[in-house]
Subunit: 399 residues, 2 copies
């Protein structure tokens, strides 16, 4: 986590003034990095005019960022521009990378993303993690992380941090998975069990998925509800570009919103929760299919083949999603609902009944429903990008 | 709305630097005002040490605030302190006041609150507003506002702005009530219809009620869900001390969260919404009582007298609230749920079944339920205090 920005204050005494100047330098380094990352390649003069600093001030900042390997010079800008050509600056393709990792119920996945947002290395493994103790799962994950880190280092990249996505509740600002019912983990300290020497973040997969959507999705607004599913159903609300975490970090548990209050008992302690109608197990059961590898793929295949029992199961799941989302839309008023993760693959068969139910119940005050193009890679990409964002937000801290 | 704080930036050119210095002065005036409001009476030296500015800088700011009538000198501090006694500063009891007004379904209410938070004038009227066109309702309200403004002015106070609470959806950053089903208002521009010459804010009553709770409630945390009822049921989520408004300003519609998806049709277009079980009309019907004046008072009286039909109706309403709040707690993870407005008077008979239902469905991840001490005055007090807060946040703008 980067420190909050310092305020400049006239009339403060010595130590505070130094602190303030230091804070301003850090903030200006971040502004240069974000500007070049979003709009580069750019000349020093273009950076200066975009952020309202003098060219001299920008040159000092750029020199520091170039020395630390965060920016690089691409040589003279292409001709045809007015004035003396400057050397174009770009975010370095050889600097820090963010390592993202995901513990899924059926897979482990790791990737390295550079400051330009390109995936530079990846590794993954299909493995049934349900009911396995955390130790061997995290040992396997550490092995994949090691592979990705070595591959990145061979390319001259430097891992700046690790972010791990898990399908469960993570206590706010901690590395502890409080509950992950679909893994059967309780109070698992990922930091203590993962033998990796990198600055660590642990968060719910839906939270990382939503941030991937925010950062990588096309045409995604700053206010949306991201709904994703693997075995369970999670959601994450983004407000003005920021994630709503809840007081303990447990916000977004859409899967346990009651759909029919007298419905089937749920392992969470409730009855008739959304997961009892639209969770993977419930849909497989209603479709008359068995557990097995790539169950979502099987549902997609059968639905595409016209299997009416599967299609009806997905229609009913869409209706249940529409009821739960009616509650969410009334409470949260997002600009749009984005279906991500496994839901994006199943969207063609879920959306008609979902939209009908939501539209009927929220006439005139509802919101649109869209499908993520990122799909099931969202959590691992969001995790890696969250490390990259932290570097852009505080380049001085990454040096 | 106050302008966002400016950042101080080294190396910016002339106009921007002036803008920046101006921004810092405004910010520092606000810091002095908030410090004195929260902790006063204070000497200049105490203010300086609390906010980390020099005593000379604080003196300049204080002089400006005293000249504009926002701060006043109380004379020398009481003895027994170390050093030379300074004159104690307090927020002025003769400066600006905020005017708050509420359009209720059965009442109109107006008050004036000074910078110290004291109510200095009030006026109200019991009147059935359901189905009345907005014009006469707002003409009546303007008359009450005129009374309160004149009373405040007789005491040497200066109205700084007017905030109006309405029981309906208000489009974000506008004066337009998009829908107020319990008044039967649609697309009503309160600004155009209210003949009052004061800076105006219009917002949902639940939003003002929640802010009253945040500012005036005792021991209320920074993260909570405030649930209130008059005829309808509204809620407002406060996160880190800020209100979650939703992309269009429509967040918090707890009354239209589905409780039983196949339940009775709701005027909103949905079925089985919370209001169909716990709204005032539904409870009166279940209790076998008729519409009439002070219906909540009647419910309280009968329940206190042991009327079993009324008590059962309130128990059932509590159960429905528990189901809807299960959804809200799963989605939002507030630290606590505060029952305000009419719900605070009915709380003794609602809470047992509400807590049972919520506790059972959210085992181990639920949240506490508390009752507001502010009760049905919340919206009008929250409205008046929101004007006061705007003065404290930008004292330069109020001069």
């Amino acid at each position: 986590m980067s420190a909050p920005p310092h305020e400049a204050r006239p009339g403060v005494t010595g130590a505070r003034l130094a602190d303030t100047q230091h804070g301003m330098r850090r903030r200006n380094l971040a502004r240069v990095m974000h500007t070049v990352a979003a709009h580069g390649p750019l000349s020093r003069a273009s950076v200066a005019s975009r952020i309202g600093l003098t060219r001299a001030a920008v040159s000092t900042l750029v020199d520091e960022l170039t020395r630390s390997g965060l920016l690089e010079e691409l040589g003279p800008e292409r001709p045809g521009r007015v004035g003396r050509p400057g050397s174009a600056l770009a975010v370095s393709a050889r600097g820090p990378v963010g390592i993202g990792a995901e513990v899924g119920v059926d897979h482990l996945s790791v990737c390295a993303v550079d400051l330009r947002g390109d995936v530079r290395a990846r590794a993954g493994r299909a493995v049934g993690n349900r009911g396995r103790p955390p130790e061997p799962v995290l040992a396997d994950l550490a092995e994949l992380i090691g592979q990705v880190v070595r591959e990145a280092e061979r390319e001259g990249l430097r891992p700046a941090g690790l972010a791990v996505a898990v399908p469960g509740l993570v206590a706010r600002d901690s590395h502890t998975v409080v509950r992950a019912p679909n893994l059967d983990w309780h109070r698992t300290d990922v930091g203590a069990l993962l033998p990796v020497e990198l600055p660590l973040t642990v968060d719910n997969e839906a939270n990382f998925g939503a941030r991937a959507e925010l950062w990588l999705g096309e045409g995604v607004p700053d206010d949306f509800l991201h709904v994703s599913a693997e075995v369970g159903i999670g959601a994450a609300l983004v407000v003005d570009g920021l994630l709503l975490r809840g007081s303990r970090g447990f916000a977004g548990e859409l899967g346990h919103v009651p759909v029919r209050p007298d419905g089937p008992a749920c392992p969470c302690g409730g009855r008739g929760c959304l997961e009892q109608y639209a969770g993977e197990e419930a849909v497989l059961r209603a479709a008359g299919l068995r557990q097995g590898p790539d169950r979502v793929g099987l549902l997609v295949e059968r639905a595409a083949d016209g299997d009416e029992k599967v299609r009806q199961a997905l229609r009913d799941a869409g209706t249940a999603l529409g009821i739960a989302l009616t509650g969410a839309v009334n409470l949260l008023d997002p600009r749009t609902v984005v279906l991500g993760g496994a839901l994006s693959r199943l969207a063609p068969w879920l959306i008609p009944s979902l939209e009908e139910e939501l539209g009927r119940r929220t006439a005139g005050r509802g919101c649109s429903v869209t499908v993520s193009r990122i799909g099931s890679d969202g959590p691992v990409l969001g995790a890696a990008h969250s490390v990259v964002r932290a570097v852009l937000d505080d380049p001085a801290g990454a040096v």
